[in-house]
């Protein structure tokens, strides 16, 4: 066999593998999209719903648009959604983006302290942060519930069944982000900030005007990661948020799956809907994911 043939075969094999791999990821997603466009609430069926099978009823329902449904006895009735899916969507967006912004603020400043300052028990603190985070937040559900209830008696706006309360619990889970950002700060030579200080900057100005702009990529990554995880967070949200109008999409979508009746169609439409802001956020953050932002400042 000639070398070029071998290489072509290898290339083809690699492509097959990659296509298979992508299919593995895409297929479930496409099925969800298909379900959301299929009449009735069936999990199974053609991948591309056509003709009689195709229907926008779930999407209309989810988007709060009235639509007509043919009943079992042949009569037609107009259905208006009874669940505020768009409100959930807005709640999710609000909670996830605000909490992510706050997470960046907190973990960024904490990471700065860990990366640049000397203080008592620094390494111990840093390590214990990570160890504590190993336990999933779900394990602390009872505690979070009790805490929010307690806080709520003093500051009602931060109590149970409030979005700020939910965000507060989310701010507890930032150890991983602190580590990520600290790792990035550690790669930026201190002398750059030192020269800013000599140039007349205060500690804070050196942080905001020099270190932060150079760290845009890591903040974009942390924002995306936290946004994705918060949009799809279910356990804590389902316990903290008790009334339907406060729910997030993740909690609301779950409500379509009754014990006896799985409303797969509506569930799927809601799921696809919750994917939209993630995609939008990703596209937005992508422009910050530039490499080489820190190169050229110092002699390596």
């Amino acid at each position: 066999m000639k070398a070029s043939t071998t290489r072509r075969l290898k290339l083809a094999a690699a492509h097959c593998f990659l296509i298979g791999f992508i299919a593995l990821i895409l297929f479930p997603f496409l099925m969800v999209v298909a379900i959301s466009f299929r009449k009735g609430n069936f999990a199974l069926g053609a991948l591309i719903p056509t003709g009689d099978d195709f229907s926008l009823e779930h999407w209309k329902y989810v988007l709060g648009i009235p639509y007509e449904e043919i009943m079992g006895d042949g009569t037609v009735r107009t259905v208006q959604a009874t669940t505020p899916v768009l409100v959930w969507f807005w709640n999710s967006l609000k909670v996830a983006s605000t909490a992510s912004a706050l997470i960046i603020l907190l973990s960024g400043t904490a990471a700065y302290a860990f990366a640049r300052m000397q203080f008592f028990a620094k390494t111990t603190l840093l390590k214990s942060l990570l160890i504590l985070q190993v336990f999933p937040m779900v394990l602390a559900l009872v505690a979070l519930y009790a805490l929010l209830q307690l806080i709520g008696t003093y500051v009602p706006a931060l109590g149970l069944n409030t979005h700020p309360g939910l965000m507060l619990t989310y701010l507890g889970g930032i150890a991983i982000y602190i580590w990520m950002i600290k790792g990035y700060f550690d790669t930026i030579p201190v002398s750059i900030e030192e020269s800013a200080k000599i140039d007349g900057a205060t500690h804070f100005q050196a942080f905001v005007r020099i270190l932060l702009p150079m760290s845009a990529p890591i903040f974009a990554v942390v924002f995306i990661l936290s946004f994705i995880s918060l949009i799809s967070e279910y356990p804590v949200a389902s316990v903290v948020l008790q009334t339907e109008d406060r729910w997030t999409l993740a909690v609301g979508a779950q409500s379509f799956l009754y014990e006896q009746n799985f409303l797969w169609g509506k569930f799927a439409a809601t799921a696809v809907l919750s994917g939209l802001p993630i995609t939008a956020m990703f596209l937005f953050c992508q422009k910050f994911l530039i490499s080489g932002l820190t190169s050229g400042g110092v002699k390596e």
Binding site: I192, E194, S195, K197, I198, D199, G200, L293, T294, G296
Partner: protein
């Protein structure tokens, strides 16, 4: 413009993790005059950068006092000390253009736009950076980056410039030209400059005075030539000059009425009869262990007019360099390097008669390592 004075300056790095505490600067007293170009030189780890960083305010002062002008600056932030610093690794702001790199300090000081533009353009002109002011540091050569770093410090009109080995990352040619640029800059601005280096050529050619440091202490502060001709101690004698001063360990003894320096060696010890002022000096340390020092250029093939001693020693190695030849002569315990004004290559082992100019020789106390002075 300002003088800088360091009084009993100490730096103790506290223990961190597994590292024990480290006493990096052990009591430094140094007066740097207004407008002076002071070079701090010494081996790696001797505390040069630490001292400079304490002056800059980047490092906490463990004890002692630093004054810039009439102000004690111990507790001032770097920004309030009126200093500018050029780092060894340039430390430019990679996300800003050259213009913004240089303008950063002025912007923080809320300097009017027109003034910023005027000063940056002026600095760029002096440093030959015109036309590339809208580039980012990544798109520059090492030499250009270092110039930006210098430019960034001159636009602010500081009272004192601090340089921490600014040229050590440049290639040899670039280093020579930047060296003269910085010297020119000093001649032009007449601002106090403190310059850290471990390159003794930089130290000798740039400094008004040189401060030689070792292990956190000052060994000697003097003008370059007096450092060269009158080293205070063995360390400075061996540190300044290339090839370094020849140092022979031995004793001063009187035999048959003449004072001799006798090398301490198992065999073939060198005997140097002492005469002139050196003999007078030696008389005060008769019978003691001393170190005899003489620079390579003070050993020649022809006799010197006064107080010259003839020695015949076997050649170990010779290095003809065109204008001169370094001959390595074997003594009882080591070598004597002679810088001879010829182009000969000597055969190995060939006996060579040389003359030592005793008028330029030094004696050091072997125990205290200090120069023996009248």
């Amino acid at each position: 413009m300002s003088s800088v004075s360091l009084r009993s300056l100490e730096k103790l790095y506290p223990a961190s993790g597994k590292n024990p505490p480290f006493h990096a600067v052990k009591g430094i007293d140094l007066e740097i005059h207004d407008g002076e170009f002071m070079v701090l030189v010494g081996p790696s780890g001797c505390g040069k950068s630490t001292t400079l960083r304490m002056i800059a305010g980047l490092e906490h002062i463990s004890a002692g006092e630093i004054r810039i002008g009439d102000t004690v600056v111990n507790d001032l932030l770097p920004k309030d000390r009126g200093i500018a610093m050029v780092f060894q690794n340039y430390a430019l702001y990679p996300h800003l253009t050259l213009f913004e790199n240089m303008a950063f300090g002025l912007r923080l000081a809320r300097t009017p736009k027109a003034e910023i533009s005027r000063r940056v353009t002026e600095a760029a002109r002096i440093l030959g950076l015109e036309g590339i002011l809208d580039r980012k540091p990544a798109a520059l050569s090492g030499g250009q980056r270092q110039r930006v770093a210098v430019g960034r410090s001159i636009v602010r009109n500081p009272r004192v410039f601090l340089f921490d080995e600014p040229l050590s990352n440049l290639d040899a040619k670039m280093r020579v030209s930047m060296r003269s640029e910085i010297s020119k800059l000093h001649a032009r601005l007449k601002t106090t400059m403190i310059y850290v280096t471990h390159d003794q050529i930089e130290a000798m050619t740039m400094g008004d005075r040189i401060c030689v440091m070792k292990d956190g202490r000052i060994m000697q502060v003097a003008a370059p030539l007096s450092l060269y001709h009158r080293p205070d101690n063995l360390y400075v004698a061996g540190f300044i000059g290339s090839p370094p001063m020849n140092l022979l360990r031995g004793r001063v003894e009187r035999r048959d009425g003449t004072l001799l320096f006798i090398e301490s060696a198992e065999a073939d010890a060198v005997f140097i009869p002492l005469a002139g002022p050196l003999a007078t000096l030696a008389a005060s340390v008769e019978g003691r262990d001393v170190v005899f020092g003489i620079r390579p250029e003070n050993i020649s093939e022809t006799p010197h007019p006064a107080d010259s001693v003839r020695l015949t020693l076997p050649v170990e190695l010779s290095e003809p360099m065109g204008s001169e030849t370094n001959a390595y002569l074997k003594t009882g315990s080591g070598t004597l390097i002679a810088r001879l004004h010829n182009e000969k290559r000597y055969a190995m082992g060939e006996p060579l008669a040389v003359h030592l100019n005793l008028g330029k020789a030094h004696l050091f106390d072997a125990a205290t390592e200090q120069a023996i002075r009248p």
